[in-house]
C-alpha cells in the first residue's frame, strides 16, 4: 500500500522540475488527497490495498499532473523575463558603443549592478532570473585560467596545474547545484559564457590575447557581438515566458546557432587550436544540460 503511494508521489516529484518548495508542497497536497480517498474507500468496506490502488488510479497520471503544474509555475512574468535578459542587454550596450568600453565609471556601474543583482537574487530564494546573472560570474573564473595559460613558457603550466583543477571544481560544483534544480537553468546560466568564449576564440588566444590587434578585432566585430547578445536576450525572454518545456529547450538552442554563424562569418575560419578548444568547451558546457534534459524528456 505504502509503496504504491510513495511510488506515485516519487514519480510525480521526478517529473516536476520546479522550485523544490513548491514541488514538495504539491506532493504533500496529493498525499493528503490520497489519505482522504483511502479512508473513505476503507469506510465503504474495501481493503487497504484495494483502496490505495483505486485512490492512485482516481488521481490520474502523475506525469500529466506534473506537466500541468509545471506549466502553471514555469511561465515567468514579463518582469522576470526582462530581469533575466537585462545582463545580456547591458553587455550588448557595452559593445554597441566604443565610449562604454573605455569608460571606467560606466564599467564600474555595470559591475556593481551585476554584483548587487546576484546578491539580491541569492537572498530572495534564487529566483529564475538570477541564473543569467550568475553566468557572468563564472566567466572571470574561466578567463583567469586562459590568461594563466598565456603566461611565459613554464610559468603558465605551473599556474594552470594549480588553478585549473580548482577552477574546474568550482565551475562543476556551481553547474551541478544549478542542474539539481533544473538542467535547463544550467544551460541558461552558461549561455553568456558560450557567447563570450566563442568570440574570444575567433579573435585569437595565447600571445594575441588582449593585444592591439585583438582589441581592434573586437571593435571591428562589435556589431556581430551586439547581435549575439541581443539574440541571447531574446532567447532568454522566450525561455522565461514559454510554458511547454519542449519550447523552452528550443529557445535555448537558438543562440548557439546564431553565434556560431556570426563567429564563422567574422573569423572566416581563422581560429587557432586553443580557440577551438575554448569554443568546444563552451559548447559542451552549454549543450550538456540541454541534452541531459532532452534525454530525460524522451
Amino acid at each position: 500500500m505504502v509503496s504504491s503511494i510513495s511510488h506515485y508521489l516519487n514519480s510525480f516529484k521526478a517529473c516536476l522540475k520546479i522550485d523544490h518548495t513548491i514541488r514538495d508542497d504539491v506532493a504533500e497536497e496529493l498525499s493528503a488527497h490520497l489519505e482522504d480517498k483511502i479512508q473513505e474507500l476503507e469506510e465503504n468496506g474495501l481493503s487497504k490495498e484495494e483502496a490505495s490502488k483505486i485512490a492512485v488510479q482516481s488521481l490520474g497520471s502523475p506525469e500529466l499532473i506534473a506537466q500541468q503544474i509545471y506549466e502553471t509555475h514555469a511561465q515567468g512574468s514579463w518582469k522576470e523575463a526582462l530581469f533575466s535578459a537585462l545582463p545580456h542587454f547591458l553587455v550588448a550596450l557595452l559593445f554597441a558603443s566604443y565610449f562604454y568600453w573605455h569608460n571606467l565609471i560606466w564599467l564600474s556601474i555595470v559591475l556593481i549592478l551585476t554584483v548587487g543583482m546576484a546578491i539580491y537574487g541569492w537572498h530572495r530564494g534564487k529566483p529564475i532570473w538570477l541564473f543569467p546573472w550568475l553566468g557572468y560570474y563564472l566567466i572571470p573564473v574561466v578567463v583567469t585560467g586562459i590568461l594563466l595559460l598565456s603566461l611565459p613558457q613554464g610559468w603558465g603550466w605551473i599556474a594552470a596545474l594549480i588553478y585549473i583543477p580548482l577552477a574546474l571544481f568550482v565551475f562543476i560544483y556551481i553547474v551541478r547545484q544549478t542542474a539539481r534544480r533544473d538542467w535547463l537553468y544550467a544551460s541558461l546560466m552558461l549561455a553568456p559564457m558560450l557567447v563570450i568564449f566563442s568570440w574570444f576564440s575567433s579573435l585569437g588566444t595565447g600571445n594575441r590575447l588582449l593585444s592591439s590587434d585583438w582589441i581592434a578585432g573586437l571593435q571591428t566585430n562589435a556589431l556581430w557581438i551586439v547581435i549575439s547578445f541581443i539574440t541571447l536576450a531574446g532567447a532568454t525572454i522566450a525561455f522565461i515566458r514559454l510554458k511547454p518545456r519542449r519550447y523552452k529547450i528550443l529557445s535555448l538552442l537558438i543562440p548557439p546557432l546564431v553565434i556560431l554563424f556570426s563567429v564563422t562569418m567574422a573569423s572566416r575560419g581563422n581560429i587557432d587550436s586553443w580557440g577551438w578548444l575554448i569554443l568546444l568547451f563552451s559548447l559542451f558546457a552549454f549543450a550538456t544540460p540541454v541534452w541531459m534534459q532532452a534525454r530525460a524528456y524522451q
Binding site: 504539491v26 504533500e28 496529493l30 488527497h33 500541468q68 503544474i69
Partner: protein
C-alpha cells in the same frame, strides 16, 4: 472531442471559485462537493484539480494556507481573494446572460 468535457474544461475555474467563495475548502472536499452538487455529473481525474487550483492561486484569485485538523492531519485550505470575488461575480453574470440567451434560442427552436 466530448462536448460535455469541453464545457467543463472551459468552466472549471468558475466552478472552483464558486465553491471556494462559499467556504474555505481543500482539494478532496472540492472533489466531493462537485460530485454531490452535480449529482455525479462532473467526473474527472481528481489530480487535474490541483493544477487548476494552483493556476487560480498564481493569478491571485485564491490563496492557499496549510491548516492542521483536530485529528492532526494537514490540509491546504483555499480562500477566495477580493480579486477572485470580483472575477467570480463577472463570470457568473456572463454565464447567466449566456445561459438565458442559449435557453431562449433553444426554446424558440423547439416550439
Amino acid at each position: 472531442m466530448n462536448y460535455g468535457r469541453e464545457l467543463l474544461k472551459g468552466n472549471t475555474d468558475s466552478l472552483l471559485l464558486c465553491l471556494i467563495s462559499r467556504e474555505p475548502t481543500y482539494g478532496y472536499q472540492i472533489v466531493k462537493e462537485l460530485e454531490t452538487r452535480s449529482d455525479g455529473y462532473f467526473q474527472f481525474k481528481e489530480g487535474t484539480l490541483y493544477p487548476a487550483l494552483h493556476r487560480l492561486e498564481r493569478d491571485n484569485l485564491i490563496t492557499g494556507k496549510w491548516q492542521i485538523l483536530p485529528n492532526g492531519q494537514q490540509r491546504r485550505y483555499y480562500y477566495i481573494t477580493e480579486k477572485g470575488q470580483q472575477v467570480l461575480a463577472n463570470r457568473l453574470a456572463t454565464w447567466q446572460d449566456f445561459a438565458s440567451a442559449v435557453t431562449s434560442v433553444i426554446q424558440t427552436e423547439t416550439t
